[in-house]
Amino acid sequence: MNLQNQFRTPARNVAALGSAKSGVHHWWMQRVSAVGVAILGIWFVVSLYCLGGFDYVSVTGWIANPCNAALLVLWVGALLYHSKLGIQVVVEDYFRGATKTVMLVLSTLLHVALAVFGVVAVLRIALSIILGSAV
């Protein structure tokens, strides 16, 4: 150890060498969203099966139920958030440089867009009863 290093604080030695404070946030959000997606996924499959048919009237009627609409919005949000986090890890592991940046941006935009499309669709069906427009 040379003289200069003796005066370095431990904090200086680790500065800019990794994340602080938010290091496990991504990892932890992946687990939390996974639990949400899994529980709501079981709900989705079971309720669709209980619905018994997929004609227009029964499907829109099912989505229009406030409880179903709320859970669907939650599921769409959790699913695309979980997907966004997962795809981000894959891109970060397998791409480098500009390609990585471009793919991360495109992936983020695509996930946000899909989530908004899903939520708007559910809300349009759910609110059409209140607003009185025939969907």
């Binding site: 687990r31 996974a34 639990v35 899994a38 996924g41 499959v45 669709l48 099966y49 018994g52 048919g53 997929f54 227009y56 499907v59 829109t60 989505i63 669907l72 769409v76 899909l114 499309f117 899903g118 708007v120 669709a121 559910v122 349009r124 069906i125 969907v135």
Partner: protein, 90 residues
């Protein structure tokens, strides 16, 4: 998402979407997608158990890996047959 947007776009759009879902190739893609989802779902639970610090020794991990693969095939078959009986819109 396609299914939701088509339902929100009215009966005509929904009927068009139903025709797409009834197509044989779409059904095959959906079946593959369903298997991928179920496999990911079960392996996700396996990972959460590992995160809780259980079952992470090599022998148990190998066994649970095989169990998840078999369970995924079975569960995919169960869900697919459930929904095929309801009108093939799975």
């Amino acid at each position: 998402m396609y299914w939701l947007v088509s339902a929100a776009s009215g009966p005509t759009a929904y009927a068009a979407a139903q025709a797409v879902f009834a197509n044989g190739i779409t059904q095959l893609v959906l079946l593959a997608g369903l298997f991928a989802f179920v496999y990911h779902f079960l392996n996700g639970i396996r990972h959460l158990v590992w995160d809780a610090g259980k079952g992470f020794d090599l022998e148990v991990a190998r066994k649970s890996g095989i169990a998840v693969l078999i369970a995924a095939v079975v569960l995919t078959g169960v869900i697919a047959s459930m929904f095929t009986r309801l009108g093939g819109a799975a």
